[in-house]
């Protein structure tokens, strides 16, 4: 699998470290309550199809949000996590 890095272009999967679903970008407020934190930390849509998840590109030290298909491994789009306003990952 190759993942296009917004900085470096098409790169091998081995250059990336997987973090998990893009849910991690929507961190709730500290006082948001048990359900919100459970939702953020544990519960997942876990789709069989198009998903968004977070990958760290080690060579350029960038966090990349990848839109891809979990059934075909096709990568649809990528962007820097920092491009998303309020991101904290």
């Amino acid at each position: 699998m190759r993942i296009p890095c917004p900085c470096c272009g098409d790169r091998d999967r081995r250059e990336y470290t997987y973090y998990g679903a893009a849910d991690f970008l929507d961190r709730p407020a500290e006082d948001a309550g048990l359900e919100a934190w459970d939702n953020y930390l544990h519960l997942r849509d876990n789709p069989a199809g198009v998903t968004r998840d977070l990958w760290y590109h080690d060579p350029c030290q960038s966090w990349v949000e990848v839109e891809r298909n979990t059934v075909t491994h096709e990568v649809l789009s990528t962007r820097f996590v920092s491009a998303k306003a309020g991101a904290s990952a």
Binding site: M1, R13, R14, Y18, Y19, G20, A21, L34, E35, D38, N39, L41, H42, L43, R44, D45, N46, P47, A48, T51, D53, W55, T70, V71, T72, H73
Partner: protein, 417 residues
């Protein structure tokens, strides 16, 4: 038809014309007391024990493909009870005891072979960890022996004892561990359930779960609606999709775990062996193929096939441990879709919907759990109370933080298992 050696003999003399089908092919009725979604190992064993242990009759298993066509046929068939934590250890201990009587219980040859499992360790720290694990196994009433380097060499002379990078310090020997024939386990439970009146309905995909006033009332399927008083979701590998039909989000991420098999060879590996310094475990099937696997590919996937980096890692680890397998030709590889839970332990529980039950999150432990998983889910569905050995497999443990069972000690978060 009851199977026996005598019947094999007489059938052999009469042209094998007298064998009957192992189970019926019924059409779905419009209503059942209990509907089980998923005709894999766990779903079939649940149906079997509902009928056998609790005397229930009006049960259907709905399978979208064919019986045993999912993860029960996509694993490395290892059966063991070497867990450390309370919650897991009593459950897998119970499961191994069920395995030990399974063939006479089911009147079916599941080829359960207790050939012994040896977990190798390669440092003082690993030796301490395995000694502690072995003590936990003994405390649970299972078997464990700590072998030193010479003890391992006596049993496994073909490992590479000369290499300096990952020296073999010893191994934890679990004599009752071993393997079984994966398909036969599904078939044995299917036949047993069918003989007790369970309807096994194949090519019947559940497309909706009906809920009214907080209570489950039935399911919608590709073969029409079916009313039911109780419904169990036993679809590891597709748990999140099934639960989404009931409006639930599960604490599950689906990952690929790859496995490989070589051409058939003469008997050479008599045990199940795991390498402590890389992700590699191996056994030899009765057909002669070396069956081995590694770790997850480590990204969410439903592709049922993996990527090359993990293939490379597994082959390297295998060559490091036992160079003698280097000339064997790999015939094929496959990927199982693993329900990964945040703490690496499974879930057998009720849901917030009355009459709806969930069995999921089997991580790396699904195959060996098949008998006990069905036993415990059947107990929960029939009595309303969790079975004592599965009482800690709670769905809400991540929310409450109580009884997290993190065997690896890495933390209860999705990306850590």
């Amino acid at each position: 038809m009851t199977y026996s050696g005598f019947r094999v003999f007489t059938q052999g003399l009469t042209g094998n014309k007298g064998w009957t089908k192992a189970w019926r092919q019924p059409d779905p009725k419009t209503e059942y007391d209990i509907v089980i979604i998923g005709g894999g190992g766990h779903g079939l064993s649940t149906a079997y024990y509902l009928a056998k242990n609790h005397g229930l009759k009006n049960i259907a298993v709905l399978e979208k493909g064919y019986l045993g066509g999912g993860n029960v046929g996509r694993n490395t068939t290892i059966v063991r009870a070497n867990y450390f934590l309370q919650g897991n250890s009593e459950f897998y201990s119970h499961s191994l005891k069920l395995w030990e009587g399974l063939e006479s219980e089911l009147n079916y040859n599941v080829m359960h072979s207790q050939r012994g499992l040896i977990n190798l360790f390669h440092s003082d720290g690993q030796r301490d960890a395995f000694a502690r694990r072995g003590n936990a196994m003994l405390a649970q009433g299972d078997d464990a022996e700590l072998l030193d380097r010479e003890g391992v060499r006596k049993i496994l002379p073909y490992l590479d004892y000369d290499q300096a990078r990952f020296p073999i310090y010893g191994g934890l020997y679990h004599r009752r561990g071993g393997s079984a024939r994966h398909d036969a386990v599904a078939w044995g439970f299917a036949r047993g359930a069918d003989r007790r009146g369970v309807d096994l309905i194949q090519n019947c995909e559940v497309t909706g779960i009906d809920v009214a006033n907080g209570k489950v009332t039935g399911v919608q399927t590709t073969r029409g609606p079916i009313r039911a008083k109780k419904v169990a979701m036993v679809a590891a590998g597709r748990s999140s999709q099934v639960a989404a039909m009931a409006g639930m989000r599960l604490p599950i991420e689906s990952h690929i775990l790859q496995a490989f098999v070589t051409e058939g060879l003469k008997p050479v590996i008599d045990h199940v062996i795991s390498f402590g310094m890389g992700h590699f475990y191996i056994s030899q099937s009765d057909k002669g193929g070396l069956v081995f696997g590694g770790d997850l590919d480590f990204y969410a996937s439903y592709a049922a096939r993996g990527n090359l980096p993990m293939v490379e890692h597994v082959m390297e680890a295998g060559m490091t441990l036992m160079p003698m397998i280097g000339r064997a030709k790999v015939l094929r590889s496959w990927g199982g879709i693993m329900d990964m839970s945040p703490d690496g332990s499974p879930i057998i529980d009720k849901t917030h919907i009355d009459g709806l039950f969930v069995n999921c999150g089997w991580n790396y432990g699904g195959f060996k759990a098949v008998p006990a998983s069905g036993w415990c889910l059947a107990h929960l569905m029939a009595t309303g109370e969790p079975h004592p050995v599965a009482a800690k497999f709670r769905l809400d443990r991540f929310r409450t933080g109580r009884n997290i069972m993190d065997e690896e000690g890495t933390g209860s978060q999705h990306n850590l298992h």
